[in-house]
Amino acid sequence: MRSVVEELKQEYGERLRAEPGYPDQLVVSVAIDDVPAVAATLREWHGARLVTVFAEDRVAPEGAFYNYYVFERAGDPCYLVVRGRIPAEDPRFPSLASTLPAVNWEEREIQDWFGIEAEGHPNPRRVALHDHWPDVHPLRKDFSLNTVLPPFEGERHVYRPTLGEGVFQIPVGPVHAGIIEPGHFNFAVAGEPILYLQLRMFYKHKGIEKLFEGMPAARGVYLAESVSGDSAFSHGTGFCQAVEKASGLEVPFRAQVMRTILLELERIYNHVADIGAIAMDVGFVIANAHAARVREMLLALNEELTGSRLLRGMVCIGGVRRDWAGGPGKALGQTLETVEREFRDLVQLIQSSDSTRDRLERTGILRPEKAAALGIVGVGGRASGVDRDVRRDHPYAAYGNLTWRIPVYSEGDVQRRMQVRIDEVRESFGMIRDAAANLPAGEHRTPARPMEPGRCALSAVEGWRGEILYWLRAGAAGRLERCKVKDPSLNNWPALVEAVEGNIIADFPAINKSFNLSYSGTDR
């Protein structure tokens, strides 16, 4: 990325300024109107991918808002953050969404949260705030967290009408039939096949990014763990890494290895549950019972290792809170052995069922070109030819010392999304063994120290769903000035819309489960 920045400097001269960053995170700032051209150069000439877009209110200290565009490119562990200045008196930015559908929701979020207009956006309607919210912009600094909004009136969201003979509309949610999170799905169907699906998310919006502001960093760990409860350890680690970066803290290698083991345990317990749930959604209930049983073994192991079944309260700034005296011990080795055997049986059971395979193959196809255009990450991406994995592309914790295979398929159906999970669980077994066998002696935690006020840092983690990003700016006295959270689900909801088209409605549960996106992580 360093050479890319040099080239950009030559092209833009004084209009582009290098800002303080890190060896693996370069930052440049430009005027907001230069962003489309810079983004085009980066994408077309340097093969870069726009990872995420978000904004920050710096009106009080600097008289401006900023948009941040995070880029990465294959084979380069360094991120490039392009910072675009938006004068407070003219709050607008040129939208990239018409050429880059991946940022569709993120740009609209900026409109909603900050009241900065995304000029030229193909669908500039609200996304994060429901239509009946008053005209407020909660992430502006002059909006107080505890503002009491009046009761909402009017339509929550106006859906595209469903017209035509024999065409029906099926509204589902926000309260669903199963024990799952709330969101609204509006299906247009012609008989059994789905014509199109419209989503209405953000039912679970809890003001998380606003809550971070002013919070002491140590407390922020718990909030990060609660962004998406099934990814508590990944989100917690993502947050801690950002704080550690901003305070120049070196995490002991022992802690890095412990984090790696726990990150993989989180991946396994969720993947195993999903594999069972996908089988159940096509009627293979007994497979799910076995999967749930295996998951229980893993949750018991989590509790043994961290005190929490869902790996909460373990990661902390500077390492982990609880050491494993004398190594991860017998619990890890024994459970892993049993789980590995049980997992082999489970996969065999599912694969021996022709009717299950029949329902999963060629169901809910997400074509690779669509996946690339929509910026799909994680399991959903890898099943559709997107060869990306933060663990390899931007190594963190102890992943630099491990080797594993990243499964990538191009068929993009439910079967392949399940297969990616099966392959990843198998790889994780090996990674955990490797890491546990080489667990170094030493400290499990180093004392935190305050972040330098004003310092910014970015951190990425490959959660079991995919790429989790944290970006923060340090405030005074070890508090957070701003903390941006990006869960992989935000990228991936449009993939679900794409994948269900033309499928029968009875296959929707399996298709939805094959992505298994986090509503809470999306809505924050």
Binding site: L149, L223, S520
Partner: protein, 273 residues
């Protein structure tokens, strides 16, 4: 088919005997913190460290009242970590569900020294102890059948993972004649996780209205009880009882499956009372 049967037979029974027999919880599991109020010399560091404000201190001259609210506690253990004399201790205890919100609050009063540390414990009140055996109640009142509709009113999904585990073979809630149903119209109980977001408030009310009487509402987890880490803000209303009448509160972050089971059984016992 043979393979499926073979696997089933080889697996055998995996369901736990809780609550007939005590739950098997590892010694080092993080459950509720326990407070030895007599030993506790200074509550202020724990107050500082608590991420959810579950521990509060109010001083009036040389008198201090300390309250611990298990309805806010996320079992993180920060209070125990900053309290040197071992007066705060993490335990694996999880049977905390209570019928009244106040039953989750413990209060202690101290006389203070000049340096504002505790001089003497004047009095301390405890969380209500668990109810009696409950299975008989459930059978009598609901004819061995309780139908639960789960409503996620804004949780992080952690509570849902544990609620789902109740349906798994290890906990198998159906052995009590309890099952989760797809519609509130079929339900006797709403099991609600929170915090209740502004965007879910209407849906939660409508779900409640669609549930036939008599009905029970159980608030799950620190967020469902009090708003937890999220509290009350522009986007959330806080705990479930800010929107609906709540019959039983189940603390935890999230409550483990046995804790949920305990709370659900406690709730059903109340119908006959």
């Amino acid at each position: 088919m043979f393979q499926i049967l073979n696997k089933t037979v080889r697996t055998g029974t995996v369901t736990v005997a809780y609550p007939k027999r005590a739950a098997q919880v590892p010694e080092n599991a993080r459950g509720a913190p326990e407070f030895d109020f007599g030993q506790w010399r200074d509550a202020r560091p724990a107050t500082e460290a608590c991420p959810t404000g579950a521990i509060t201190v109010v001083d009036a001259g040389l008198a201090r009242s300390v309250t611990v609210d298990y309805g806010r506690c996320i079992f993180c253990g920060e209070c125990a970590a900053v309290t040197p004399e071992g007066a705060v201790r993490m335990t694996p205890k999880f049977e905390l569900a209570a019928r009244g919100r106040q039953d989750l609050v413990v209060a202690a009063e101290y006389a203070l020294r000049a340096d504002l540390t505790h001089h003497e414990l004047i009095r301390a009140g405890r969380v209500d102890e668990a109810g009696p055996r409950l299975e008989r109640e459930i059978h009598r009142v609901l004819g061995r059948s309780l139908a639960i509709r789960e409503v996620d009113a804004g949780s992080c999904n952690g509570c849902e993972l544990e609620i789902n585990a109740l349906n798994a073979p290890r906990y198998d809630i159906e052995r009590f004649g309890i099952h989760f149903v797809a519609s509130p119209r079929h339900a006797d109980m709403l099991l609600v996780t929170g915090p209740v977001t502004r965007n879910m408030e209407l849906a939660l009310r409508k779900t409640y209205d669609a549930t036939p009487d008599p009905k029970l509402v159980v608030a799950v987890g620190a967020c469902g009880i009090s708003g937890g880490l999220f509290g009350t803000n522009y986007a959330t209303r806080g705990g479930v009882d800010q929107v609906l009448p709540v019959d039983v509160y189940i603390p935890g972050c999230p409550p483990r499956p046995e804790a949920l089971l305990y709370g659900i059984l406690l709730a059903v016992g109340r119908l006959g009372a």
